[in-house]
């Protein structure tokens, strides 16, 4: 993956084309219809985004069929997809799985897996988080046998392969598992986020293909990219929530005037704006970090996630408050955002845990 290869103006143009596309392809009615269908995938929107707009391959080098770009460009796509609440596996397949493979440095794996990810024809799910009280192991039998349970596996139900992090006798390893391999049990979870289903995935001696060697550093970098990516989503959703709140404050009348004329509401909206602008600056700074400079990458990722994970939920909650009773109804879009915001908040660490790591970097704790 490269650092930003485009100019700010080019990224603005790219944003406009993604937004245009999603405004038509993934309006709220469509999002709700896909949610109700239970498939967990808006297949036509995914095809349009992934193949036609080339979004799935942004982080993949051109020689493997991708666009050869970096996080600055992917952040734009993540912001826009989250803003539209698109039911697509952009984060799990095109960011986490795509980067996990590349962070192994295993050229054979690149050739084998990246082209399918690049055009979105293949969807992979990243299984990184061990379920409560479990620890996924890889045993060196006649093949690598995986044992353990992963939780919160995004888009597990639509993935054809899993990328599984597991402990090996010689450190952490990354394994590719075919979705229909023996001993894989996918149990859909009653996930808070209705636009991005998760599952509990259990491996009972499942055969995995190890790619690359020790994945300890790779996993650390992947977590940092995950923090930047979820922050970009949080920014995209916060921006939209602010617009929805401001529009409502302009038109909803109580006590004979628009509620936005009341300072209590006006100040809440102004604070939303301040937080959104701050998130925008933070995401821009983090997504422009040179990926090779891992110390800067880890630190910037903690800063951006600590900020966005704290204030995006604030914006989502404030949106419901500004709307009053209507904001508490299932029909209003606010809760669809709140659910995805709260999920992104905890993925790769919430604000408190990011600050905890920052305290170590800053020498405040041992």
């Amino acid at each position: 993956m490269k650092n930003a290869t485009t100019t700010e103006a080019e990224r603005a143009e790219f944003r406009a084309s993604v937004r245009d596309y999603l405004t038509n392809a993934s309006p709220e009615t469509r999002v709700r219809a896909v949610i109700d269908s239970g498939t967990g995938l808006d297949a036509s929107t995914w095809k349009g985004l992934a193949a036609d707009l080339g979004v799935a391959g942004l982080l993949i080098p051109e020689e493997f069929g991708g666009q050869g770009m970096g996080m600055a460009e992917m952040a734009v796509a993540l912001e826009e997809a989250a803003r539209a609440l698109a039911v697509v596996p952009l984060l799990s397949s095109s960011v986490l799985s795509t980067l996990a493979i590349q962070l192994t440095g295993d050229e054979e794996a690149f050739k084998k897996y990246l082209p399918g990810l690049a055009d979105g024809s293949e969807i992979m799910a990243f299984a990184g988080l061990d379920g409560a009280g479990t620890h996924t192991l890889a045993r060196d039998e006649t093949y690598w046998g995986l044992y353990g349970t992963k939780t919160a596996v995004l888009n597990a139900g639509i993935a054809s392969r899993f990328l599984v992090v597991a402990s090996t006798p010689d450190g952490t390893g990354l394994f590719v598992v075919d979705g229909d391999a023996g001993g894989v049990v996918v149990n859909p979870q009653d996930a808070l986020d209705l636009t991005r289903p998760t599952a509990l995935v259990t491996f009972e001696g499942t055969e995995g293909t190890r790619i690359g060697g020790d994945f300890t550093d790779g996993l650390k970098s992947l977590r940092s990219f995950g923090r930047i990516a979820t922050s970009a989503e949080l920014l995209g959703m916060s921006e939209r929530l602010m617009e929805i709140s401001v529009d409502y404050a302009k038109t909803r009348e109580q006590f004979g005037k628009p509620i936005g004329a009341f300072q209590a509401i006006k100040h809440r909206c102004s604070e939303m704006f301040a937080h959104v602008e701050s998130m925008r600056a933070a995401v821009a700074a983090a997504s422009l970090v040179q990926p090779e400079d891992t110390a800067a990458l880890h630190e910037q990722a903690l800063v951006v996630k600590a900020y966005c994970a704290r204030f995006a939920p604030w914006v989502a909650e404030a949106t419901i408050q500004v709307h009053g009773g209507i904001g508490f109804t299932w029909e209003h879009v606010a809760h669809l955002y709140l659910r995805r915001v709260k999920t992104d908040e905890v993925l790769f660490g919430d604000a408190l845990s990011c600050r905890d790591e920052l305290q170590q970097i800053l020498g405040l704790t041992a």
Binding site: A261, K266, S270, S278, A281, Q359, G363
Partner: protein, 369 residues
Amino acid sequence: MDDLLAELRTWLGDALPKWKAKWNGDTSWDALCDWQRMMAEGKWATASWPLKYGGRGLGTMDVLAIEDVVAASGAPQIPGMIGLKNVAPTLMKFGNEEQQKSVARIGSTDEVWCQGFSEPGAGSDLASLRTRAVIDGDEFVINGQKVWTSNGMHASHMQLLARTDPDAPKHKGISAITLSMKTPGVEVRPIKQINGGAEFAEVFFTDVRVPVANLLGPLHEGWMVTMTTLGHERAGVAVFAGRLEQRIRGLIEEVAKRDVRVSPVVSDELAEMYVEARVLGAMARQMLNKIAQGGTPGSEQSVIKMVWSELSQRVDTVVMGLAGIEGVTGENNSATLGYLSARSATIAAGTSDIVKNIIGDRVLGLPRD
């Protein structure tokens, strides 16, 4: 820009020791004015001014770089900032021949200017000011009161905003007028602040007569005249943001070096401030880049001002907390003074509450009350 900064460093290496030797630790008003005089002679204090006024005609980014180098050298604060940054550019743009003679004297501190803007009844709502200037023949007759006048105790001259047409809507009918603080009927009293200092004055006007030729810019257009040049300070808020980021890094380094660990709650508060300072710094750098590329800062300036003021206030509150009992016994005077002084951060140059109104009204287009 590298050549320019190298020239500046060489100049500072020569001038600063000379000044220090001459004043020997004295940081009185006269000593500071002497430093400004040297800085103006070197064309560093006046770097943003056009060549014909004795400046270097430099743009915002160059001037900010100069200010950073000067601050890092340990040079003292320049006392006549209001004159250099606000009044002189206004005089250059709107002043008549006589008024423009003051520009050079502002650089050298032969004249020290203040701005008579705020009034007891016109703080954040500056346009509701009531000090009157009535034309009587070829003179203005001025009556009223100004308050929170920075440098008022030291000033030789004032750029005054007074109401010249009481029947016009409040932003109209205001005129800008220049006058000497020695004009009969002008009385200046210091305002003692909660931190014990007196950086501001109240100024009273009783039948003060000045020539109509002292009008600055068109009659009744004082609001426009003033707002045009307030824009010169726009990039300044980004500099404050950068300095706050440095300050928080410094505070954390200091705390991390202590033998006794602070409580986890304080440690988290420091990390939280660090996060917000880093984000603020990123926002400020992006605004400066925009200016460097010829853009005009918009709403981000209000956001930076609001975030900066609230965060810098929080830092002083935490420093006060870290001082513990010594913060209230006078044993840690810098923490106490910092805490008291920081109360003004969310008041000066528009209270945070008003900034939120401005963002709501002008940026988000929410209905006015």
